[in-house]
C-alpha cells in the first residue's frame, strides 16, 4: 500500500507569504476598484435600452412587408417622437458605445479555452464574444451608411424604403445583413439568458435550462421577423420603389394607390 508520496522540492515557493507580489493570477482585491459597477452597467445596458431598442427596430422594420408607404409612415412616426434626437443619443448611441467598448474590453481579457474544453456552455461563452464583435462591425457600417450618410431619413421618411432597398439589392450587402441579423439575435437572446443567470433570477440548474429554451425560441422568432423584413425589400412585390414619397402618399399609408414607377403586382 502506498503511504506518503510527497516529493521534496528544491526551489522555495514563490513569496506569497512574505508580502511580495505573488506570481500568476492575483488574489481578489476586496474593496478596490469600480469594475463591479462597470460590469453590471454593461450587463444592464444590453437589456435596456439596447435590447429593448433592438426589438423595437426589428418589429418596426416588419412594416416593410406592407410596402413603401407603410414603412415610411413608421419612420415618420418614430422621428416625430418628442425630443427624438435626445432620445436617440441617450437611449441608443451612448449606451451602444458603452456596451460595445466595455464588451470589447471583456472579450480581450477572457482566454477562451474551448479547444481543450469543448463543452456546450463554453461554446456559448465563446460565441457570445464573436457575435458581439460581428454585431459591432455591422452596426458601425449600418449607422454610418443608413443614418449619417446619403439621404437624411429623419427629414425624408418617404425615402426610407428606397434607401434600404438600394443597399439590400447588392448580394454581398444582403449576406452581410443576414449574417449580422443572426449574430445580433443570438447575442441578444443569450445575453438575456446570461443576465438572468448573473443577476440571480434563474439560480437553479433546471430554471436555467428551461429559460435557455425560452430564450432560444424567442431569439429564433426575432431573427425570423428580421429576415422576413429584409426579404420585403428585395422581393418582386416592391421592386423599384420610388426614391421618395410625398407626405400625402405616406399619410394614406397602405391604402395609397401604387406610386408611379412602382411595379405593383397586387
Amino acid at each position: 500500500m502506498a503511504t506518503t508520496v510527497s516529493t521534496p522540492v528544491s526551489a522555495p515557493p514563490t513569496g506569497a507569504r512574505k508580502g511580495t507580489r505573488h506570481k500568476g493570477v492575483q488574489p481578489l482585491r476586496a474593496g478596490q476598484g469600480h469594475s463591479f459597477l462597470l460590469r453590471r452597467l454593461h450587463s444592464l445596458t444590453g437589456i435596456v435600452p439596447i435590447g429593448a431598442f433592438l426589438i423595437e427596430h426589428i418589429v418596426s422594420n416588419f412594416e416593410a412587408l406592407k410596402g413603401p408607404a407603410a414603412y415610411a409612415a413608421q419612420v415618420k412616426f418614430l422621428n416625430a417622437l418628442p425630443f427624438v434626437r435626445v432620445l436617440e443619443w441617450a437611449f441608443i448611441f451612448l449606451p451602444l458605445i458603452y456596451h460595445a467598448g466595455y464588451g470589447m474590453y471583456i472579450w480581450l481579457r477572457g482566454k477562451s479555452n474551448v479547444i481543450y474544453y469543448p463543452w456546450a456552455g463554453n461554446w456559448l461563452y465563446t460565441a457570445q464574444r464573436w457575435t458581439g464583435g460581428i454585431a459591432l462591425a455591422y452596426i458601425i457600417q449600418h449607422v454610418w451608411r443608413q443614418r449619417f450618410s446619403g439621404v437624411n431619413l429623419p427629414d425624408h421618411p418617404g425615402a426610407a424604403f428606397h434607401k434600404v432597398q438600394m443597399e439590400l439589392l447588392h448580394p454581398w450587402m444582403f449576406a452581410i445583413y443576414a449574417i449580422a441579423m443572426i449574430a445580433t439575435c443570438y447575442h441578444f437572446a443569450y445575453g438575456v439568458w446570461l443576465f438572468c443567470a448573473k443577476w440571480g433570477i434563474t439560480s437553479g440548474e433546471r430554471a436555467r435550462r428551461g429559460f435557455g429554451w425560452v430564450c432560444g425560441v424567442a431569439g429564433l422568432l426575432l431573427c425570423t421577423i428580421g429576415l422576413a423584413s429584409m426579404w420585403a425589400f428585395v422581393s418582386p412585390k416592391y421592386r423599384n420603389a420610388p426614391a421618395d414619397l410625398t407626405p400625402a402618399q405616406i399619410t394614406e399609408g397602405t391604402q395609397a394607390p401604387a406610386p408611379i414607377g412602382q411595379a405593383h403586382t397586387r
Binding site: 516529493t7 493570477v25 482585491r29 478596490q32 477572457g110 482566454k111 481543450y116 474544453y117 456552455g121 440548474e205
Partner: protein
Amino acid sequence: MQAAETLTGAAIPLSKPTGKTYRIEIKRQASPDAEPHWDKFDLPQRTGMNVISAMMEIAGNPVTTDGRATTPIAYDANCLEEVCGSCAMRINGKARMACSALIDKVQENGVVRVEPLSKMPVIRDLSVDRSVLFENLKRVQAWVPLDGSYDLGSGPRITPQQQEEAYPLSRCISCTICMEVCPQFNEETNFVGAATIAQAKLFNEHPTGKVLKTERLHALMGDGGIHECGFSGNCVTACPKMLPLTRAISEVSRDVMIQAAKDIFTR
C-alpha cells in the same frame, strides 16, 4: 497471490501486469524560472494503475525512453482517493485529479500526456503554487468566526434542510480545477474563481458564519470579484466533487446586487 481479503472475507483484486506497456510524457521544469521540457517514459501496464502510481514507478527507476537517467518527478499528492485535493494536473490536455485518473481510461493510443496546471506558478515539474486560492478564501473570510476566551455555549441549531444545502458546498477539496478551466480566471482579470464564491455561500448560509455576510459580499464586489464570471459553466462541469458552482455563483451574485443596492441608500 491473486487477491487480498477484507475483514469480512471479500476479495480485493490486486493490480496485475497486463503484459502491455504504455508511454507517459511529462512536462517538467527544474525550478520556477527554468524552461520547461518533456520527458518520456515507457512503463509496463498493470490493471487499475493511475497517474500517481505511474509517478511512483518512475521514481523507482527514473530512466527515460531514450535511456537517459533523470530525477524522479516532483508532484503533489497525498490521499490517493480524491479527497485531499492536492494532485490536480492536466492529463491529456484536461485538468483533473491525477489519483483518480486511471491509466486504462485516460490513455489515448497508449500515450498519457501530463502537464502542470497552466494558471498556477510552477514550483517544479508538476508541483504548482496554488496559494492564490488560500489568499482568496482569506479575503472573503471563509470561516465561522468563533474565537474567544470564554465558553460560548452550544451553537445554534442547524436544521436538516440547512444541512442539505450546505453539505454539497462543503465537499470542496480546494483542488483549483474550477479555476484552471475557467476562461475568465487569468492574469488579465485576476478573477477570484468559483471555489471561493461557493465557500462564501457556504459560510453566508451558516447560522453563525452569516455575521460576516455583508463583509463577504463587499469583498466580492472588489476588482476580480464575482462580476468577472462569464458563465461559461466550465467550473461546474469539471469540478471533481460536483459542487453546485453555477448555482452558488448565481445566488451570491444576487446577494451582492442586493447589497450594492442597499449600500446606495444606507451608506
